[in-house]
Structure formats: C-alpha cells, structure tokens
C-alpha cells in the first residue's frame, strides 16, 4: 500500500485511509474534543503523510508515523487556541487525599460514562490522559511533546485520574 502511494496511485491512498483513518480520527478527537476541528486535522495529517510518504523509512510503521503527525498538529491547534500546558504551580489544586477505585467498580461503569468523564476534563488534563491511556505514550515523551517537565505530566496525570474516578464514583453512588 505504501509503495502504491509512493507511486502516486489513488488506490494506495484509499487503502491506507480505510485501514487507519478511524483510529487516527479518534485519537485526534479525544485530544481536541470537537468533531469539526478533528476532521480538519485528520485531513491535513493524511495530506501531509501522503505527500511525504517517500520520506518514511520504516514502511511497516505507517500508523505510528501518521498518528504522530496528527497528534502534533492537534497539539499545535490547541496552542493556537491560547491553551497553555502549564507547570504544576499554575494549576488548580486538587485534593491530594487518595481517591481510589476498585477494578470491580470500574467494570460496572459504562464505557460512555468513562468517555464522558474524560471528555469533561480540562484541556490540559484531557490531553495528557488521552496520550498516556489511549496512545500509550510515555510520560517523558508527553512532556517533550507538550513542552513541559515529565514530573508535571506525571502529577497532572494522577490528578486527572482522580478526577475521573471521583466522577465515576459519584455516578455509581447516585446511580445517574
């Protein structure tokens, strides 16, 4: 497929798109939080990837490559929105007491509840959580991508996780 794309064949583009577009779109959507901007970013990422596909050294890693392009574009878009990935001192203080959730309770939760709990996070937290949980990117690398300290990424991730658990617990307790 990649070779077909390098040769400029539309069939190759279509096959690569059909295989990876959904995963890329969801990754971007989770970071951005809205469909219109996500759609634009995915389109732009695919255009860039198809145009520069000749530069791709490891052809088997197309998905990782295009996902990285798309996520970088998403982070740039968030920055354009004047969103700052701030260090710890600038963030709201979250109660540091242990808010834990058992695996049983987590399994009782609906997927949509978890999705909503993540979506309701502030932009900065949501970005870190989605990059770490869904894209399996290490905290150090997330720090590099966002231009912040990896310790900040770690603490913000834990705070975000606590927020999610609190939301899910409330949901389970009130049964709404």
């Amino acid at each position: 497929m990649v070779k077909q794309c390098v040769a400029g064949e539309e069939k190759g583009y279509a096959m690569l798109y059909n295989k990876y577009a959904k995963r890329i779109y969801h990754a971007v959507f989770r970071v951005m939080g809205n469909t219109a901007e996500s759609e634009d970013i995915v389109q732009e990422a695919f255009c860039t990837a198809f145009e520069q596909i000749g530069k791709l050294k490891n052809q088997s890693n197309f998905e990782g490559w295009i996902k990285r392009i798309a996520l970088n574009q998403a982070i740039s878009a968030l920055r354009k929105r004047k969103m700052v990935f701030a260090e710890d001192s600038h963030l709201e203080t979250v109660a540091d007491e242990e808010v834990d959730i058992s695996e049983e309770l987590l399994f009782q939760c609906q997927i949509d509840d978890i999705k909503k709990a993540i979506a309701d996070l502030p932009d900065g937290y949501r970005t870190i959580v989605t990059l770490h949980l869904f894209e399996d990117i290490g905290q150090e690398e997330i720090g590099k991508m966002l231009g912040i300290n990896h310790a900040t990424v770690r603490s913000q991730y834990h705070r975000a996780k606590k927020k999610i658990f609190t939301t899910l617990k409330d949901k389970a307790y009130y049964g709404t």
Binding site: A14, Y25, E39, Q43, F50, E103, L133
Partner: protein
C-alpha cells in the same frame, strides 16, 4: 513499577471507545486537497520560472543595449570612420592659401597631418555626391548633390556620366533643370556637349526645353540647327518653345 489497572482497562477496551463512525467524504476531501496543493505548487513553479525568464530577458536587453551603445561610441571615435574623415573637406579643391609658403612649425604640422592621412583608409571624396545623385527617394538630396557638383572646377568621368544621366532620366523637372545649369558650365566638353545635343530631342518639359535652347541655340553647330528645325516642326512642341527655337535659328551665326 506501579500497576495502572485503569490504563490496562482502557487498552483492553480501546476498540469499544472507538465506535463512532468517521465523518463522510473525508477521503474525497483529502484527495481533492492534495490535487489542489499540487496545482498550486506547479503554478508557483511556473510563476517562478516566468519571473526568472523576465529577469533574464531584461538583463539580455540591458546587455544588448550596452554593447550596441559602446560599439557606436567606438565607431565615432575611430579616426578612419566616415564621420571622422569629413569627406567634405577632402573633396574641396586646393585653396589658394595652400600655395603660400608656410612657417617651419606649420610645415611640420602639415607634414605630420599628411603622414596621418596616408595611414587613413582611402575614401572617395566624391562618394557623397555619387550617393546624392542616385538617391531616388529624395529630390533635395539630388539637388544638393548637383549644387555640389556645380562648385567643382572640373568633372571626372563618373561625375560627367552620372550628371548627364540625371539630366536625361530624372523624373523631376527641377532636378533636370539644375543638372542642365551645371552641365552648361562644362558644355565645351565633348561628352557633355553630345548629351546636351541629345537632350534637344529627349527633353519634353517646356521649361527645360527653353533653357536648353538658350544654351545650345547659338553654338552654330549644323547638327544643333537640324535639331532645332526638328523641334520647330514637331506639332507637340509648345508655342513658347517654338518661338525660342525661331529666335535661336534667326540669331544663329
């Protein structure tokens, strides 16, 4: 490392989190965008090429103009060029002052000048006159050339031939008249005399005819008399000319 069961749970159920459908026609948009970009890129390249072409043309024109102008300047400066040689002066007859003995310094200068002249390419001093006589596009040029011939003390063979040809064949009456006036000065020359005689039969313009009869009428040559009688008998000869012919015949010695 601490076990993150939340992350594990998410990774295990990742596909369930991605159940939403893709927005429609994204692939079409991507391919359309790529095509548009490629066209824009090609257009940009074309524009750049045109810009460079325009710059190259401008440079070429400037260089061409510079070469042309510099060549022209060097042509003017060349001592051997027609402009520098001043053929008018060369064509002039030697002035009486030339015979006056010159002081030694002056002589030296003249000698030096002569030395220079010998190294100049030879140009025909009458060339301007020859060119003027055959300038079919300008009556003024031909008249100017004839006037210049009139200032000469003697005529060489080519000048005689050319002037006679002008007298016989030029389409303009004024030019023929001017040529006749100059030729009359040299009517003692056999060739010029013959041509003037022939003109009595050839010339059809009354003004030229009158002038020619005035010049030729009194020379007492029997051949001239025959020509004059011929003119008098010609029904196409205008009365004024005929009268001049009669007068010439009567006063002929």
């Amino acid at each position: 490392m601490e076990r993150d069961f939340f992350k594990q749970y998410i990774q295990e159920h990742k596909d369930t989190f991605e159940d939403e459908a893709l927005p429609p026609n994204m692939l079409g948009n991507i391919l359309g965008n790529m095509k548009e970009r490629r066209e824009r890129e090609a257009q940009k390249k074309r524009k750049l090429a045109y810009t460079w072409l325009a710059v190259a043309c401008s440079l070429f024109m400037v260089a061409g103009a510079y070469l042309f102008l510099s060549q022209e300047t060097s042509e003017i400066k060349k001592p051997g060029s027609q402009i520098a040689s001043k053929p008018k002066d060369v064509a002039e007859q030697p002035s009486p002052s030339a015979t006056v003995p010159l002081p030694i310094e002056e002589k030296a200068k003249v000698k030096a000048n002569k030395h220079l002249v010998t190294h100049l390419p030879k140009t025909n001093p009458y060339q301007e006159i020859y060119d003027g006589l055959v300038d079919s596009l300008s009556v003024a040029s031909r008249l100017d050339a004839i006037i210049k011939v009139g200032t000469l003390a003697s005529l060489n063979e080519k000048l005689k031939t050319d002037l006679c040809r002008t007298f016989n064949e030029d389409g303009n009456d004024n030019v023929r008249l001017a040529a006749l006036e100059v030729l009359s000065k040299f009517s003692n020359d056999n060739y010029v005399h013959e041509q003037l005689m022939a003109g009595l039969s050839k010339q059809k313009d009354p003004v030229v005819q009158l002038e020619l009869i005035k010049i030729m009428g009194n020379n007492g040559n029997p051949e001239t008399t025959d020509k004059l009688i011929e003119m008098a008998n010609n029904p196409f000869t205008v009365n004024a000319v005929k009268e001049q012919v009669y007068y010439a015949l009567l006063t002929n010695k």
